[in-house]
Amino acid sequence: MKKKDIQTQNPTWAKYLPWLAAIVTLIGAVSGLFGSGQVRNMDVQALGRLPVLEGGRVKPLDSIARNSLLVIRSQQSFRYNDRTVGPDEWLADVLFRADIADDQPIFVINDPDVLALMGIKQSSERYFSFKTLSPYIDEIQKQSEAAHPIDAKQRTRYQSAIVNLFDRLYLYHKLKHSVQVAGTEGGLTQEIKDVAVPGAEERQAVLRELGLFRAFPGAKVSDWRSVGEALRDARNGQPLDKGLAPMARVSDAWAKQDAPAFNAAVGELLTQARPDEMATAKSELIFNIAQPFYTGMVIYVIALLLLFVSWARWPGLLQPVAFAVLLVGVLVHTAGLTSRVILQGRPPVTNLYSSAVFVGWGAVVLGAILEWIYRKGFGTAVAAASGFASLIVAHHLASDGDTMEMMRAVLDSNFWLATHVVTITIGYSGTFLAGAIAIGWTIRRHVVKVQDPAADKALVAMCYGIVCFAVLFSFVGTVLGGIWAEQSWGRFWGWDPKENGALLIVLWNAIILHARWGGYARDRGIMTMAIFGNIITSLSWFGVNMLGVGLHSYGFMDKAFWALVAFGSSQLLFMLFALLPPRFWSGNRVAAPRTPVQA
């Protein structure tokens, strides 16, 4: 009967509303791809498409621009002189017009002691240009060198900050000397003319030493040459690299801001690249511009907000809309994940960053499946919330630079990355989702005025099902990890911190299941335990990396310590609320008439 009511309440166009919402969201998501990519009629995006070798892999120059800016400024673009400077334009300035780039405020400094070192008072201004910092570079270097021998974990906040600032200055310095020695008259054009002149050798050595990337392709990956190497080879009598002259023209044209000359020279430079590398670089550029994980994050927030509204008003209308928007988020998230897999030629999880992206994806897909089955809005809520949370985590993990770095020798195994790493990460997803459902259940208990036992029952059933799922995947993942370890380190199980972390997740999920089977824990107990699962998972995911011991410590990180403490405390608080006996629940507190509602 109730179903009919809803149908009669909603006008016929309501049927199409979710579709409409999905289409609008999708259009919004892909709209970023259709920018002109030009600055003052100069096609900087075309320059960003240039394939270069850096960090052991061929990538578009755009990736270097974005990752460097992300490392230096923690953002991929910035406002300067009342307009937004994108990564490609910024890099063009750094490479070809260093004096302009030196004026741009790109170095973010938050540490008050580092600011005090330079006699700058802490104010709302957190971004400084190279020119502002340049008088203090010797002092920064001295301080950084003093802090450098100290183990990264033992450094004070100031020491970490000063080392970090110096590293960023050095990265900027390297970029500035990747095409020409910054500030020399005539730039690369003069350098080519003077290739055999006395004194040129030193400058070529500087370019070789500092150049961040290799721009000139060779037959093999190891044959790629940087500008400095190409100049040295020319000096030693080899023919001039075909890329040098167009690169010099690009530099000159940008310095003069001559748009036609710049576009022509960039076009010529691009013809030097091999077609397959050109295609890969172009795909990665599109991936960079689309920023699928950032877009996904925004879509998840929209879905969540729509759902919140639906709980206050128009539930029949807005719940399907929220679900539709969530599904678009899943689509974008999946597209991003797939692109990474294709671009990198690797399974989806290769480092801490991608594990966050994948954990979120797993949780969102599971949540969407739950929503598909139960259609109560809870699935959408937990899916959107966990998707958003994990992508935020991923966003913060990305600030270390290239997220598609090459795999260290022991990790260089697609088979094990695809089996062990993916299964264990799905196990994390499941445990987090169970925890998210339990938090949803707790919030309902304390916020919703009208009781709905059927809905509560459904939530408990969902949580139980997901815990079963999580125990399967985390166990299998852990044992697969053991087998990998057996094959590469010679022991199945070594009580290494990361292994112990995985074991804790398995043990905890097993305890939840046995407590339920034995009848020792009922709804409240199971839900509280599921929330505790969040703490265990976050500790074994990130916490063990902070110990810095064991064979798995390649994912080392120290910044997230307080974030982890805050997360753990919030979960403990939720557990407390989950444990409160029924007389504290809002439905009972207001003594609402107990009206059993049929599902």
């Binding site: 052991g56 020798a409 044992v479 020792y520």
Partner: protein, 402 residues
């Protein structure tokens, strides 16, 4: 009367052993141990922490400021054993032998096997190293954590006879007869870990009367357990035959110079070195490779091309050992572990674990079991929902007709 009381006591014990509560308590205690073991690794090293928490019957806590330790928690061995018994007993007594429980049966058998595998490797796994330079042929492996006093008969220039005295015997002290030779040794003093230095002018004379040891100052150091640290044991020993003594010698790890003495025309050399185990086959390192990604120092691959000669088995072949691809031969597994000397030296980890196959079997059983069990549960839940839906539909139609 007495009989029935006995019976009830027995069934009580059995009841306790197969209770699900015990399972949960054991799992919880295991979690506590795992957390403690993980945190302790920062100070104690992995080996030390594992021995203290996981491979022990009881966890001891040293009272600060005293020499006394008190037991504070059951160790991993105890908890693991109780858990295994609980699993087996509840399996045999509690769980129904029906097809619907087939999945859980498989899971639990697999888990017992996994616990057993950990016990087997704790008891029987032997870790050793094989350090080999390019072009070198080696027929022994070394245990880097254990030392031995090696007495080498170097009379024959082509072939050394080796007599090893394990560290444990040196620790006991007293007189040790070297079987196969007329020699015996007296252990004057033994140290688990030492620091060596040059003897200062005017320092008290060394115990050693012969060899380089006379000029060496020796300082005892606390024994270490961390993974990367090595002990440097040392001992003052006196070789003798009957009443003829060859003087007191210092044998210490890290003492490079060879120390020889001659007995009845045979030359004997003394050395303190990592305990060696000779293999019935030989390995020659043909080439060690260490590749990095171009333009970076990120390692791409380490590999050792090894030539294996086993005359006894009539095998002679080349083997490439690289990351995630060990050589398994005659019960031992050789892994690429480390390298040195400008990429001309390769270090292989050598593991002997008769139970290495158990986790594989266990993994397969548990995975299959969980899949079967959840599939059965899912189908049951689905049927229930369908029945419920059918009931609701009936209700609806009833109301409509009404």
């Amino acid at each position: 009367m007495a009989k029935s009381e006995n019976k009830s006591a027995l069934s009580k014990i059995l009841g306790a052993l197969l209770s699900l509560k015990l399972t949960i308590v054991c799992l919880g205690m295991l979690m506590v141990l795992v957390v403690a073991c993980t945190l302790a690794q920062v100070d104690m090293g992995t080996n030390g922490a594992v021995n203290a928490f996981m491979r022990s019957f009881v966890v001891w806590w040293k009272l600060p400021g005293t020499a006394y330790s008190i037991p504070v928690f059951p160790g991993g061995t105890t908890v693991g054993a109780i858990l295994a018994v609980n699993l087996v007993v509840s399996q045999l007594r509690g769980l129904k032998r029906t097809w619907s429980k087939a999945g859980l049966w498989l899971v639990h058998i697999g888990l017992v096997l996994l616990v057993a595998a950990e016990f087997v490797s704790a008891a029987l796994q032997v870790d050793a190293r094989l350090t080999i330079e390019e072009g070198q042929t080696i027929d022994y492996i070394e245990r880097p954590q254990e030392f031995e006093l090696a007495i080498l008969d170097t009379t024959d220039p082509k072939h050394d006879e080796v007599y090893g005295v394990p560290e444990s015997l040196l620790k006991q002290g007293g007189t040790i007869a070297i079987n196969g030779t007329p020699l015996s040794i007296r252990v004057k003093q033994y140290f688990k870990n030492t620091e060596l230095g040059r003897k200062e002018e005017g320092a008290p004379p060394s115990l050693a009367t012969q060899g380089v040891g006379t000029g060496v100052a020796i300082k005892e150091a606390p024994a270490v357990t961390a993974d990367d640290d090595r002990n440097h044991p040392a001992a003052f020993i006196e070789p003798f035959v009957g009443s003829k003594s060859y003087g007191v010698w210092l044998a210490a790890a890290g003492l490079g110079a060879p120390q020889n003495f001659v007995h009845e025309g045979r030359t004997y050399q003394l050395a303190m070195r990592p305990r060696r185990e000779y293999l019935p086959y030989k390995l020659t390192l043909k080439k060690f490779s260490h590749d990095v990604y171009p333009g970076t120092d990120i390692p791409k691959n380490f590999s050792s091309l090894v030539h294996l000669v086993d005359k006894g088995a009539g095998e002679e072949r080349d083997v490439l050992i690289f990351m995630n691809q060990p050589l398994r031969y005659a019960g031992r597994t050789f892994y690429q572990a480390s390298f040195g000397k400008n990429d001309t030296l390769s270090v292989l980890q050598v593991v002997e674990n008769p139970g290495w196959l158990l986790p594989y079997i266990s993994c397969a059983l548990v995975t299959l079991g969980l899949l079967i069990h959840f599939a059965i549960s899912l189908r049951r839940a689905q049927r229930k929902r369908q029945r419920q839906a059918a009931k609701d539909a009936n209700l609806d139609s009833d109301q409509v007709t009404a």
